[in-house]
Amino acid sequence: MKQMIVPKQAAALLVLLLTALPGGSLAAGPVVKGQVARTSKHATQGITCAQCHGKAAKKSVVAMQQCLGCHGDTKELAARTAQVKPTNPHENRHFGTEADCNRCHHEHATSENLCLPCHLRFGFKVP
């Protein structure tokens, strides 16, 4: 398997995210066989496909609950980003604190800013 190349910025962010994980139970380690999608940021931290997608032969779409299992409560996340300008992306009038993580943060594709283009000047950088 080819070595994953993680841009410095992304690596730093990952560290940030992972340090935020409760319990810190997800030790980085070798990845199982050729299973890891090369696009996965999580993979570089030793997280296997099955940890998110389940063990069944037919891989299921990852529900938001799965993200929260490691990354913690949505309200806590919203509190942590309360000062983000021009507005808190994790607490908004469309979804409150319950926007599905996957709407912006993609694991196997470039993440996107759902607020744009409706909200001009909400130029968030989405990790």
Partner: protein, 561 residues
């Protein structure tokens, strides 16, 4: 015409007949798809070989492709049966409302006030809607002839294609319903006010007859009807309505006879709950503007235009279609606005208007709500700018609308540091500059093109006659004195207002024109109220007013069944 035919005419009105004949239902679609040539005609393809145009050969003939192959009926996928063992819980109510928006919350409260045990299942984490103004007719201060004249005006606004019975129903019940919404929302803590007749200046007289209005205003921004429906939901909860949030409806429960018995919804934990409804299910899921394939099919005009809502995927359409309901024929009514980039009161003032690049494109007396028709292409995508110079306060003083002085315009300028009030900060887009080039850059237009446009426009103005677009001479004012102003508007899809066939009880009708027992459709999911190319702005707040009214009436009706 035979005697039989004549009698049938009297039984079924024109609107309903048309919709059954040309709309989309499982029955009409299947029967038309069965004949190759007929299917080709359905998609306007009679000149192409039927094989290329006909429905895709799936075994159930569930999907069909359009001429360009881009749109398919797969936007209405047949629901996969959910087995009983997949259902985690079954709950029984009298009335189940699907969707907590401008029609759903009023319907739920109204049903509860009429004695029903009510559940609301809602996709979002709370009640959700949009807009500020919702209106009704005040019967006490309106002449009967005025009400009928207004009804006639609204029918004409719909190019005479709507169901007149539904317009009349709004006209004669909306005052009561809108007042009720105001009162009950206030009980929940809402600052909503009745702006009354002054908010409807242009229609205080219709055909010379006097009219009065109830105009609910959930505002000012950023407070909207979304917040309003959350306040109304508080009152509903107190009245005993149970709300289930983050619980989208995925399937209707029907018996063999086609009667709707309930809804299956998926909760935040991923588990299914079956909600049984002893009296009826009221679908109030809004429009389908975020379902791209479905929009491209029914309203191709808005293919390149941006959306104002999120997650309106037409879920209710799919549910009701598979239960036997009929979707209104292609050519649905659309609503596109921009009241936010600059003052709403100046949006219809006929200043020089230029497209995204900076070219003049229209006789500017055309209202903002119709400009989308000129800006439908991918390049313009609804963007245009209104341009005027520093003499506007005096030179446009007599135009209809209301001018906002330069100091007030700062409230709409993202580059001005002044604190903003009563606007969405992320939507304002008004600019001021000392030169046209600089203004063009701020408006994201092409400076050279805008300079040339302004030069040409000033020539036209100087000549006293608009030889380019025919705008009346008293609407021609030059753009010469710095600083120059520009409002960069972008009309986006507020709503799609066509829906599915209902009768006056808002009960869904099937392709035979028979009511589907247990199924009611309100809000933008309900059909028959519009029919024109664009939503009319004759009554400001007609859309929300109609949603409240039909929610109020339907909740009451179903509770009493």
């Amino acid at each position: 015409m035979s005697q039989d035919h004549f009698q049938e005419d009297q039984e079924t009105d024109q609107y309903t007949k048309q919709t059954i004949e040309n709309g989309f239902s499982r029955r009409s679609f299947l029967s038309r798809a069965a004949g190759g040539a007929a299917a080709a005609g359905l998609f306007g393809l009679s000149s192409l070989p039927a094989a290329a145009a006909g429905p895709t050969k799936t075994k159930d003939l569930e999907f069909a492709t359009s001429t360009d192959g881009g749109a398919t009926l797969s936007f209405l996928p047949k629901p996969k049966p959910i087995r009983d063992r997949e259902i985690a819980e079954t709950l029984t109510f009298d009335v189940v409302v699907v969707g907590a928006g401008a029609s759903g919350v009023p319907a739920a409260l109204s049903a509860a006030e009429n004695g029903a045990k009510v559940a609301v299942i809602q996709k979002a984490p709370f009640a959700l809607s949009q807009g500020n103004t919702g209106s009704g007719v005040d019967l006490a201060t309106s002449e009967k002839a005025g009400i009928e004249a207004l009804v006639a005006r609204l029918i004409a606004d719909s190019n005479h294609r709507c169901n007149p019975k539904l317009i009349r129903q709004w006209a004669y019940h909306s005052g009561e319903a809108v007042r009720w919404v105001i009162d009950r929302a206030r009980q929940g803590g809402s600052p909503v006010v009745d702006q009354g007749s002054p908010a409807q200046r242009a229609i205080l007289k219709v055909n010379g007859y006097s009219m009065g209005y109830v105009t609910s205003f959930f505002g000012p921004k950023p407070y909207t009807t979304g917040d309003g429906m959350r306040h109304l939901a508080k009152t509903a909860e107190k009245a005993g309505v149970r709300f289930f949030y983050r619980t989208p409806a995925v399937q209707l429960v029907q018996n063999k006879a086609g009667e709707v018995l309930g809804v299956i919804a998926k909760g935040p934990n991923g588990k299914y709950t079956k909600f049984l409804a002893k009296k009826g299910v009221i679908l109030a899921t809004g429009d389908y503007q975020n379902n791209k394939a479905m929009s491209d099919y029914f309203v191709p005009d808005v293919k390149h235009l941006e959306r104002k809502q999120l997650d309106k995927t037409g879920d209710g359409f799919a549910l009701a279609y598979w239960a036997g309901g009929v979707i209104e024929p292609i050519g649905h009514t659309k609503m596109l606005h921009d009241f936010d980039a600059g003052p709403a009161s100046m949006c219809d003032m006929p200043f020089l208007a230029v497209d995204r690049k900076g070219r003049r494109f229209v006789n500017e007396t055309v209202e903002m709500s119709l400009l989308n028709n000129y800006l439908r292409d991918a390049e313009n995508a609804g963007h245009y700018s209104q341009i005027f110079d520093s003499n506007y306060m005096t030179q446009a003083a007599t135009w209809p609308g209301k001018l906002v002085p330069p100091e007030g315009l700062k409230n709409y300028m993202p580059d001005d540091p002044s604190p903003k009030k009563g606007v969405f900060e992320s939507q304002v887009n008004t600019h001021v500059a000392d030169t046209i080039e600089e203004l063009a850059r701020k408006l994201e237009a092409d400076p050279a093109i805008l300079v040339a446009t302004v030069k040409r426009y000033n020539e036209v103005v100087a000549s006293g006659k608009d030889s380019d677009f025919g705008k009346p001479a008293d609407r021609l004012i030059p753009v010469v004195k710095a600083p120059f102003y520009g409002i960069h508007r972008r009309v986006r899809v507020s709503a799609i207002c066509s829906g599915m066939l209902v009768d006056e009880n808002h009960q869904a009708l099937n392709a035979e024109g028979k009511p589907i027992k247990g199924l009611f459709l309100i809000g933008n999911l309900g059909g028959g109220f519009y029919g024109g190319v664009d939503y009319p702005l004759t009554v400001f707040g007609l859309s929300l007013g109609r949603c409240y009214t039909f929610g109020y009436l339907t909740g009451k009706h179903v509770a009493k069944l």
